[in-house]
């Protein structure tokens, strides 16, 4: 009768952490699913390069262009892609099966998001490198400010995706359920529309939205124009969004596959 209890406590040293394992699983699945990889990883990057090039006449507009491209990459690689991923894993029963094991809910949700977030991080690095090496933009002056914006925005979009996946029937349906949020994100001044050409009211509204704060932190951090007050305000906006999105995710996320 003691046999099961003694074997239970034995640990295998080679087993990596659960977050690491979930990340590797997601990246492996992304590699094997070409259409998802194209939408999530390749297309936003290509459009990003084109977008950045179009604004590259001087350092300021160039940096603005790359920041917008980064915003667009976040919308597709994190927000749209993860909504589809959460819906797919739920419909496959993977989320429910994970939940029947030892992992905590938040570990499962975070681990499932890490694939999309890693892709986005890679895109951000490539876009900065493209800006510096190809477009001849200056080196980022305050990389930590940029990093804060990128990381927080990624977290906000991932949490919103988890929440939205609760009302998304399948990965195909994600196109529809994310349409409103994707539209708002892309229309936020600083993403596809340069902040310089919008009035002060839309610009201010934009700064209260996640993509507006993120692109602002990237622009001002890169050019070194970020004052502590402005940066903290943008970070504060993102933290607020993160709290709201996390609460929404906790309420709306579904673990059981939807039938019919």
């Amino acid at each position: 009768m003691t046999a099961p209890t003694t074997t239970r406590t034995r640990r295998t040293a080679d087993a990596p952490g659960p977050l690491n394992a979930l990340l590797r699983m997601e990246l492996l699945l992304l590699r094997r699913n070409w259409s998802a990889a194209l939408v999530a990883a390749v297309t936003p990057l290509l459009f990003g390069f084109l977008l950045a090039r179009a604004h590259s006449d001087d350092p300021v507009t160039g940096v603005h262009g790359v920041a917008g491209a980064m915003g667009m990459a976040a919308v597709f690689s994190v927000h749209y892609h993860l909504t589809a991923v959460y819906a797919t894993r739920r419909q496959e029963g993977v989320l429910k099966r994970l939940r029947a094991g030892v992992l905590q809910d938040r570990t499962i949700l975070l681990g499932t998001a890490l694939g999309g977030l890693t892709v986005f991080a890679g895109q951000a690095v490539l876009l900065v490198a493209f800006g510096v090496l190809v477009l001849g933009l200056p080196l980022p002056a305050q990389p930590w400010t940029m990093l804060a914006g990128i990381v927080l925005c990624g977290a906000v979009l991932a949490a919103l995706s988890a929440a939205l996946s609760g009302v998304t029937r399948s990965s195909e349906a994600a196109l529809l359920t994310t349409l409103p949020s994707v539209s708002v994100f892309l229309a936020t001044p600083g993403v596809l529309i340069p902040v310089a050409i919008v009035g002060s009211v839309p610009a201010l509204v934009g700064l209260l939205l996640p993509l507006g704060s993120m692109t602002e932190l990237v622009r001002s951090g890169w050019l070194g124009t970020a004052g502590p007050a402005g940066a903290l305000a943008s970070i504060g906006v993102l933290v607020l969004w993160l709290v709201v999105a996390a609460l929404a995710a906790r309420r709306l996320v579904r673990w059981d596959p939807r039938r019919g």
Binding site: P18, A21, K96, L98, V102
Partner: protein
């Protein structure tokens, strides 16, 4: 406090909207026991099991697994349980070996990949994408993942539904092997022969309630045996320990004492010179329990 009670459920209730799927189920499973929950679709088996697994919280009553609440004390309970859900839970794009390797990372003290696959007879299928497995192989892979951490308590929700006989035999062998190692098992099934072959105790559920409980032999013994024959011209007798039902063509008795009733019947036939064409007498089987339940419940189906 560690006792030999593994599962203790008291007056469990669970409802979905207007439909009460589980209506007061109490269950006690001791260490090393294989307990089968039998029932037709919609009887409340899966709801009961998912409540015991901690995936759903009961609307009434209480569940204790190893003395803990499985939904709230996850860290205490989950390392000691293995779960095979009723369906799904695997990404078709991963291979069998990749799937086992991934799930090993979520399991403390996990078995090695080869040992795991050998246990369920999938050792030569490691490189195959999960999407290309047969239904039976897919279920056996799910079983493999459920036992990866050498659980003390294993939940199997309809482990052999839709399996071909060879896959079913392999699954039964694997379950037998786990039991010999001391694993406690709660399994649901709607195959009677599975419960009779594997279970120490069975609980039969119907419409969210327990209708019979005990060892397979006890459950059968508590049921009336059956005597049938073609209806003769003469009115057949009433028997001391049996309920008689007669229709146009056949006569049937449900007997609580097969030997005495049969002797009485044969005596009557001898005295009156009646031929009992197609005479059959047999003890109850779990199948009778099922058929009896199904007959009384045509109108009431589950979710």
């Amino acid at each position: 406090m560690e006792t030999d009670t593994i599962i203790e459920a008291t007056e469990l209730r669970r409802r979905y909207g207007d439909h009460e799927a589980v209506r007061g189920i109490s269950l006690h499973v001791g260490r090393g026991e294989l307990h089968a929950l039998l029932g037709t679709n919609g009887a409340g088996k899966t709801t009961t099991v998912e409540t015991l697994e901690g995936l759903q919280e009961p609307d009434g009553g209480s569940v204790r697994i190893f003395g803990c609440d499985p939904a709230r004390d996850r860290t205490a309970v989950r390392p000691r349980t293995g779960v095979m859900l009723q369906d799904g839970g695997l990404s078709g794009l991963l291979t069998v070996a990749e799937t086992v390797r991934t799930w090993r990372s979520f399991t403390r003290g996990a078995r090695p990949v080869t040992e795991t696959l050998e246990l369920v007879g999938l050792a030569d299928r490691g490189g195959v994408p999960v999407a290309q497995l047969s239904g039976g192989e897919h279920r056996r892979l799910e079983l493999a993942l459920a036992v990866l951490g050498r659980p003390e308590l294993l939940f199997l929700d309809e482990p052999t539904t839709g399996m071909d006989p060879a896959s079913r035999r392999r699954t039964w062998d694997a379950v037998g092997e786990l039991r010999r190692a001391g694993t406690t098992v709660l399994l649901t099934t709607h195959y009677l022969e599975e419960a009779e072959a594997l279970a120490d105790r069975v609980t039969i559920l119907h419409a969210g309630r327990i209708v019979a409980e005990g060892s397979p032999a006890e459950v059968v013994a508590a049921l009336p045996a059956r005597i049938t024959f073609t209806r003769p011209p003469l009115e057949p007798p009433r028997l001391a320990n049996a309920v008689r039902d007669i229709d146009a063509e056949t006569v049937g008795y449900r007997s609580r004492d097969l030997q005495a009733d049969l002797a009485e019947l044969l005596g009557w036939a001898g005295r009156t010179g009646t031929v009992l064409a197609g005479l059959s007498a047999r003890p109850a089987s779990l199948e009778d329990v099922f058929l009896g339940i199904a007959a009384t419940s045509g109108s009431e189906t589950g979710r």
